[in-house]
């Protein structure tokens, strides 16, 4: 059964001067117990999609059900089975972590005693027990996010919506957040997650839907998407500018495409299948040809490259910025 099913969602934001189609006919299906990653640049419409599915916004066209409840007609029932954690930690910074959780629990219609018990559980789960009675204002960014996520979980939702859960976090906090999210998923929570990072979608999501200008332009597993854009990349920084042409020729022969050159950094980038062996071969051939190199790496495609190949433009925010962010 599908935990989320959306068909033809359209959302138009009108201001005096212009009209932005933040969502332009979005279809989504998320199976129960699975994780969908909505991947896209700022302004693609990810947040708008989440806000519609969590009843914060009404769609202009299309319909959707979440956990079997219609997002417009059965909004209140729907709210009692979902949890939402947004891009900006929406907790009250003048309350303590515990007070926040108890308050949200009460508003989730838990009895007072149960809200307290649940708050304790969540503080422990998110490693906030020591900070639980401190005012949130004193929390670090990572702690706030964890509390925000905890607040979303207070009513044990069947379905969780996470809007860019790690944007703005330092690398260590991000890894911590991933660990927490994986834990939730092991317990069978259905998850819809938005992110700007392919790596994150890759780490966490079962399936990925790539969103751009309010439309879903590709879907599949992370491996499928990466295969679509030609798998990995080999990058070589040539030591001597005079060798660039020769190196470029050699790389194009050894690998699966034309080498792209960044003149300034003397960096050549070539799509490559075949993993580490390829890297060894390229290094050997370059060495045999007497071409000195400063650096050589094998890396996965960046979101930019996925985007470039899917849309023909990079992830720089397009027309749909601003309201649709």
């Amino acid at each position: 059964m599908n935990a989320i099913k959306a068909e033809g969602l359209v959302k138009i934001f009108r201001s005096r001067k212009n009209e932005v189609r933040a969502l332009d006919g979005v279809d989504l299906e998320v199976a129960e117990g699975s994780i969908l990653g909505l991947l896209g640049p700022n302004g693609a419409g990810k947040t708008t999609a989440v806000r519609i599915l969590t009843t914060l916004l009404r769609p202009d066209a299309g319909h959707a059900t979440v956990a079997g409840f219609d997002i417009v007609r059965e909004a209140q029932q729907l709210r009692s089975v979902i949890g939402l954690s947004g891009q900006y930690a929406a907790v009250d910074e003048n309350l303590t972590g515990r007070e926040n959780l108890v308050m949200f629990g009460r508003l989730y219609q838990l009895p007072k005693s149960e809200a307290r018990v649940r708050a304790n559980e969540l503080l422990e789960q998110f490693d906030l027990t020591d900070a639980g009675d401190r005012v949130v204002k004193t929390y670090s960014g990572g702690m706030r996010r964890r509390l925000d996520l905890g607040s979303a979980l207070i009513g044990r939702p069947k379905l969780l919506f996470l809007d860019e859960p790690t944007t703005g976090l330092d690398p260590r906090s991000r890894l911590g957040m991933w660990e927490v999210i994986r834990g939730l998923v092991r317990e069978g929570t259905t998850l819809l997650l938005t992110t700007q990072y392919l790596e994150e979608a890759d780490e966490l999501a079962d399936t990925i839907a790539v969103v751009d200008h309010g439309k879903i332009i590709a879907r599949g597993t992370a491996d499928q998407l990466k295969a679509d854009v030609g798998g990995a990349r080999v990058e070589v920084v040539v030591h001597d500018r005079a060798d660039i042409a020769r190196a470029s020729e050699l790389l194009s022969r050894d690998l699966d495409g034309d080498a792209a050159l960044d003149e300034h950094t003397r960096k050549l980038t070539v799509p490559a299948h075949g993993g580490a062996q390829v890297l060894a071969r390229v290094a050997r051939d370059l060495d045999e040809a007497g071409i000195l190199i400063d650096d050589i790496t094998l890396r996965r495609p960046t979101l930019d490259e996925v985007f470039l190949s899917l849309t023909g433009h990079d992830t720089a925010p397009g027309d749909a910025t601003g309201t649709a962010a």
Binding site: T55, L56, R79, D92, L110, V117
Partner: protein, 281 residues
Amino acid sequence: MSAARTAVPAPVAAGGIRQAVADGLVVAARNLMRVPRIPELAIFAVLQSIMFVFLFAFVFGGAIPLPGYPGPNAYREYLMPGIFVQTIVFAAATTAIGMCEDVNKGIIDRFRSLPMARSAVLTGRTSSDVVYNAGILVVLMLAGLVVGWSVNSNIASFLAGVGLLLLFAFSMAWLGVWLGLSVPAVEVAQQVSFTVLFPITFISAVFVPISSMPDWLQPIAEWNPVTTLSSSLRGLWGNPNPPPGTGFPSENPILVTLIWIAVIIGVFAPLGVRRYRNMSR
């Protein structure tokens, strides 16, 4: 996480009065908790009013004659009820700022994603602001006693006056809710509030008897709810109360004040609720 021992709450229907009250109380309690957490807010609200008392009682007061009430203490007794009313009017700005801040910080979105009564965010805000204002008034009344204000009637009249003030505070809170939901940023809420609220309190009988104003301004000042409420309080508490004018509001200040309160709530509560609902558009 331990096994799902706690049951998933039963899907809640559209609400019911009991849930609306319970949720409103949770939100109100949350709003009031910030008072001890940021004591500066309350302290400066009180200090601001005390500054007005000081300025008018000691700086301008000597130059403001009260027709029919000679004596040095008369003006201070006249002034204090006006100061209470002014404080309540300015409190609309506090409501607006609080509301706007909640919207911008995403707390309102969190509330809207919860299965709580839809009305609770607004009723919680307006009711907590009335309680907050009541606290501020207690401090101000004590300060008033120090500068020579007193209640020269009976306890029933005193309580009637307090009740009227708090009802007015409730209406001002709804004005603040609408304002807070209508502006894009906290700074704007602050500026708009003061541009609107300042003249309202000054074109009134709060600081000076209306008879000193130009003829064309007098009717406006006379009908101003700030005047009718100040005049009601002065009447109820036996403070110097030179009639603001000769028209209907001066004859029936309490009645006109009650009508004003009903009109303000009648206009701004629906407008605020509509703004709140339209957030999902």
